[in-house]
Each structure stands twice: as C-alpha cells, then as structure tokens.
C-alpha cells in the first residue's frame, strides 16, 4: 500500500507528508471516527434544542398572559388562574445550593480519603457501595426522609442548631420537620455518590509523578494531596460537582416528600417551601385547563433558565482558573 511509506513523519522534518487519498483516509478511520462522534455530539445539541422549543411552544399561553410578571410574582392560584414563579425559583436555588454546601466538602473529603489514604482493596469495596447509593430510587429516599430524617432533625439536630445559631434569621421559626433544610439534607445524601465516585477516579488518575515530585521536596502527605494532586484533578472534580448540582436542581420525588410544599418565600431555612420540580410533579398529572398546564410548563422553562445561568456563572469562574488546556 502506497500510504504505508508516505505517512511516516517525525517532528522536525521540513518536508510535509503526501496527502492520502480519500479511501486511504477512510480506511484509517479518522474521518469516520470524526463523523460518528460528531454526529453523536450534534444529536445532543438537537435534542436539547428540540426540548427547549417544545417547552417554549407549550408554555405560550402562560408567557403571553403573564410575561415578566411570572418571574417576580408570588401567587400560585390554579382556581383564579393566577400564576407566579418566584417562590419556586427561590426554593430551587436555595435547596440546590445548600445541598452543595453540605455535600461538596464531605464528598471531596471522602474522595480524598478513598483515593489517597485507604488501602486499595478497602477503597474499591467502599466506593462500589457508595455508587450503589445512586441506584436507590428517589421515592425511597423520600420515604426514608419522612420516617427517619425528619424525626432525627426534629428531635436532635435542629434544636441544637437553634440553640447555638438561633439568633440568625435563617435559623428561626418553628420547625415542623418539612422544610428547605430537610430537603437540602436529603438532596445532599443523593448527590454525594456522584461527587465521591467521580472525584475519586479523577484523583487516582493523577500521575504518580506529580506526587513523587512533591514528596521529593519534603512535603507531608496532606501537602502532597492538597497542593499537587488536587489542583491537577480540579477540573474533573468540578465536573462532578456540576453533575451533582444538576441532579439537585431537577430532583423531584424525594424533595416533594420533605419540603412541605408551601409556595411561600421564607427567610428561615427551617420553614416549609417549594421547588420548581416538586410543584410540576405534584400538579402536572392533575392539571386540567390549558393555562394551568402552560404555566407549569413555563416553570419547566424557568428551571432550564436557572440551570443555564448557574452553569454560565460557574463556567466564567472556571475560565478564571483555566490553566494548561483551556477546555471550555
């Protein structure tokens, strides 16, 4: 085959290689590989665009009637056909961010332990089981939340928090079990497996040379981990946080069972609240009336927008941190 002799090239040679014929290129598979993978990536874009288009089209009634008021009104009244999204947006953002605050440090800490400290066999077994947590159906988390977490919070944890931090407005008010805080706790447990599992894999993948270089400088194990391994793995870890955040924003069943389902905004984390996903899940199957359905779908659109904004902010932050390969 002529191509066998024409493709050898080493860095530094001044003469460019001969161009391969199309058939030869195809046989090598590069073009096909590119086309196939490109087609997959394209299909994802198409699906997302189609989804947004559907949400946009099906929410037209509500959008035309309420326009921007939808975003800053707090009334949700299906009987009078008055719909406002603010309490749900508030609840979604608060619970998602709070669950991240709880899950990320714990998740990354656990990942570091499993990747750097634990003996490999133990680490493998434990990680395997943590990943199983991702398989527990959402509704079972909800049930466990109701029967176990709520009483736990009610009798032990919340009273302690209120004793110590009760002067802060976010911790005031009577606690009935169902609340933003409870939902965030349940969410945190649900998203931790993603953070632990993927962060651990990324940490393990950091080349040993990085660790050895640091150790040669006389660093402690923690130094090695925090200053050599962790920064190298930062991108992957942040990727896992994104995945976790996305899950937290869209989680429906478990949240609706422990958040209280009250469409009001409260400063206190211990007050009941509502999220976009929860209200859609609660009311969509029963919603009759085109405006009502359209309002619920518009809520779905709003959640999309919220996700877009949070993702965009995070990406801008990451751009600031971009080092070697700029992959954004």
């Amino acid at each position: 085959m002529a191509s066998a002799t024409t493709t050898t090239q080493t860095v530094g040679l001044s003469s460019p290689p001969e161009k391969l014929s199309i058939m030869a290129r195809l046989r090598k598979g590069d073009e096909i590989a590119f086309l196939v993978t490109f087609a997959s990536a394209l299909s994802i874009v198409l699906i997302t665009v189609l989804l947004v288009q559907r949400l946009w089209a099906d929410s037209v009634l509500s959008r035309h009637l309420f326009s921007w008021h939808f975003l800053h009104t707090s009334t949700w009244d299906p009987v009078q056909d008055q719909f406002g999204a603010l309490p749900f947006i508030y609840g979604t953002v608060v619970t998602a961010l709070l669950s991240l605050v709880m899950a990320v440090p714990v998740g990354i800490g656990a990942a570091i332990f499993l990747a750097e400290l634990a003996p490999r066999k133990v680490s493998n077994v434990l990680t395997f089981m943590i990943e199983l947590l991702a398989a527990v159906p959402s509704v079972i988390f909800g049930l466990l939340g109701i029967f176990i977490m709520l009483p736990l919070l009610n009798h032990y944890i919340v009273p302690i928090i209120q004793q110590i931090f009760g002067f802060l407005p976010i911790f005031q008010g009577k606690f009935y079990g169902v609340s933003y805080f409870s939902a965030s706790c349940v969410l945190a447990i649900m998203i931790v497996p993603f953070i632990v599992s993927i962060s651990r894999e990324v940490l393990i993948a950091v080349p040993q040379s990085q660790r050895e270089a640091m150790m040669a400088l006389g660093a402690t194990k923690w130094d090695v981990t925090w200053r050599a391994v962790f920064p190298y793995a930062k991108r992957g870890i942040i990727g896992s946080i994104f995945l976790a955040l996305a899950r937290a924003l869209g989680e429906t069943m478990a949240v609706t069972m422990v958040i209280g389902n009250v469409p009001k905004i409260s400063a206190s984390l211990f007050a009941p609240g509502y999220t976009i996903a929860a209200v859609i899940a609660n009311e969509f199957t029963e919603a009759t009336g085109d405006l009502y359905i359209s309002a619920l779908i518009e809520l779905g659109l709003v959640l999309f927008a919220v996700t877009m904004i949070i993702n965009a902010i995070a990406r801008i932050l990451m751009l600031g941190m971009a080092r070697q390969e700029s992959t954004l």
């Binding site: 009244d77 008055q82 609706t256 389902n261 929860a278 609660n282 199957t285 029963e286």
Partner: protein
C-alpha cells in the same frame, strides 16, 4: 496499558458477548411467553382516580376470570390525569372523583369528536384526621369550624367554635397546624367542594378544584403524606379518604351535616348521602353530593365516576368496555364493601342503565 494477557482479554470479550446474547434471548423468550395462550388478549387501558384504584384493580381481576382474553389495565395517575388522558384518547376510559366541568367536556369533544359520559361506580368520603395531645375521643366539627380552620381564621384548638361542639373535652390552647394535599387530587376536590358549600368566604376567595391556593398549611404528598405529617406533628389536622383512615386505623372526627347532627363517616352514612341526592340527580350524573340533605347523611361524601366515551373507533373494544361497565355497576357492586367503598343505591343503578343505552356501541 493493562497487563491482561491476550487470552484473558479475549475470554472476557467472549463472556460479555455471550452474556449479552443470553440476556437478549431470555428477554425475547419471556416476552413471547408472556403473551399467554395463542391469540393476543384484548386490552382496555384506563387511568385516573387513585381513590378508585383498588376497586378497578379488584374488578379487573374478577372480570378477567369470567372473561379470559380481556385485560383491563387501570393506572392511578389522579382524577385530573384521568380526565386529561380520556380527553386525549390515550386511554379507553377514565376514573375521576370530581365531575368534568363544561369547559373540560367541550375540550374533550373537540379533541375526540365525541362526548364523554359519566357513570358513578362507587361512593367514598373524606374525613378529618387530627393529632391533639391528650384528646383520644372523636371530635365533633361544625361546618364553620372546618371552614375557619382551613381558612386560617381559627388558629387555636380551644377556639369556642370547636369547644362548643365538644363539651367536656380538654382542648389545649395551642396553635393548629393544618395539613392539606400538595398534589392535585380528587380527595382535595371533594374536601374543598364541601367547604365552598358551607362557607361563602371559601367559595369566593379560594374556590373549588383539584388544586387550590391554600391560605394556610403544609402540603403533604398523597394520602400517605398527609397522614404521616398528622401522625408525627402534635396539634395538627388534615383530611384523608375514608378508606385510608379505616385501613390505617386512624382517629377521625365527626362532621356536622345539614340537619345539624354530627355524623361519623362510614358505609351507611355515605350511602345515605347518595340517597339524599338521588332525587335531584341530573341525567348526566355530574352531581356533587357533598353537604347532601338527609338526617344520616355524611356531608363530605362523593361519587367516583367512570368516564366513558360515547363513541368508540374499535367496535370490539367498545363492546368489551360496555360489558365491563354493565357488570361493574351490577355484579361488581358486591366487591365494594369489603374494600371500604359504599355501594350504589338501586335507584342510581337504574338510572345508569338508561344512560348506558345511549352509548353508540
């Protein structure tokens, strides 16, 4: 690169391929086997009221024994869901605890080019459940008490409106914690329908629907959510279906009816409510029987309806559906009581038989 030998690698590849093939084959075999004997059975798909789910599933199993080859698949997605899906034509019949409005009927007609008819199939009720520390007795609730509590006007358990109906009961001066349904539901529809009838303020401010804007209270998901909340929260009150309260042995209160008697919900008082409404029953059966007249009537009772299209494209399916409906309102009534539903009164059934004749198949 991995340090697996080539032989190991190939063995694992073969194992994987073999296992996948085995899995696919097994699934196909199961899939074929599950079609049962020879010809494919006729399947009728229904959806709607969760309240009626146990009844339809019991009927489906009994009817299948009498008519093998006919499968009736009913899924509980809620009354509103039943109305929607039967209007869209994605299911053959629907179940609902709240009758369709004129608007909904018109929408259905424009989508399916046919009328949707309502057939009552059984009776149920909503009951007030509560958890007041120290109170073990059945509390009596007047109409004003219930309306006031759910409007947020009556805030404490020892409010005179509640106390005067319960002489001798030690009601604490504590804040009432209200719990309602967060998900749209026929149970809610029945409850707020009753409240709207006894409280003009509720009717004008809140209104009647499967989902409303509650002035006060926490939202529990499903009957389980409300019951769970009430059980765990002192000084709370909520509403659940009678079936649910009975099955879970919950304490529930008595409600004052139109003759000022306090009635506890049970099969007899619910049947009495229906009987009281029969006289004024419209021909299309879209009637609310909350706050029904009658000395023994329980005021928060309701029919549950089967929604049936008047025309059916598939003649064979249509005939099967009609036969099932006929069976359900006659022989099928025998199953209702042991499932804690109240059966239909004979006068109601007679009227339904008339309406069945108007089905175009």
């Amino acid at each position: 690169m991995g340090s697996v030998s080539f032989e190991e690698f190939m063995t694992r590849r073969l194992l994987l391929t073999g296992a996948l093939t085995a899995a696919v084959l097994t699934l196909s075999i199961i899939g074929c086997k599950s079609s049962g004997s020879g010809s494919e059975p006729v399947t009728l798909n229904g959806a709607g009221s969760t309240f009626a789910y146990p009844l339809y599933s019991a009927w489906s199993s009994e009817y299948a024994k009498l008519h093998p080859g006919l499968q009736i698949n009913y899924q509980s997605i809620g009354s509103g869901g039943g109305i929607r899906q039967v209007s869209e034509g994605t299911v053959d019949f629907g179940g609902t605890d709240g009758p369709m409005t004129e608007q909904q009927l018109a929408d259905a007609k424009s989508k399916r080019v046919t009328n949707i008819l309502h057939f009552p199939v059984a009776l149920g009720a909503d009951v007030p459940v509560y958890n007041v520390p120290g109170v073990k007795a059945d509390l009596n609730f007047t109409a004003n008490a219930l309306a006031g509590i759910f409007l947020g006007k009556i805030a404490k358990w020892n409010d005179p409106e509640i106390a005067k109906a319960n002489p001798g009961v030690n009601l604490p001066p504590d804040q009432i914690v209200v719990c309602h349904r967060s998900d749209g539901s026929g149970t809610t529809y029945v409850w707020v329908d009753y409240l709207a009838k006894v409280s003009p303020e509720w009717k004008s401010k809140i209104g009647v629907a499967t989902s409303v804007s509650w002035p006060v209270g926490i939202g529990g998901k499903g009957n389980e959510g409300v019951a769970g909340f009430v059980r765990q929260t002192p000084n709370s009150i909520g509403y659940v279906e009678l079936v649910y309260a009975i099955q879970n042995k919950m304490t529930y209160g008595e409600v004052q009816n139109t003759t000022d008697k306090f009635i506890k919900a049970d099969l007899n008082s619910v049947t009495a409510a229906a009987a009281g409404a029969v006289a004024s029953m419209p021909a299309d059966f879209r009637v609310s029987i909350t706050n029904a007249p009658g000395a023994d009537a329980y005021p928060v009772s309701s029919f549950t309806w089967m929604l049936v299209p008047q025309d059916f494209k598939d003649a064979e399916k249509g005939k099967a559906l009609k036969a099932f409906l006929l069976w359900g309102i006659t022989d099928g009534q025998a199953s209702t009581q042991k499932l804690s539903y109240a059966p239909l009164a004979k006068s109601v059934v007679d009227k339904e038989l008339e309406l069945i004749k108007t089905l175009h198949y």
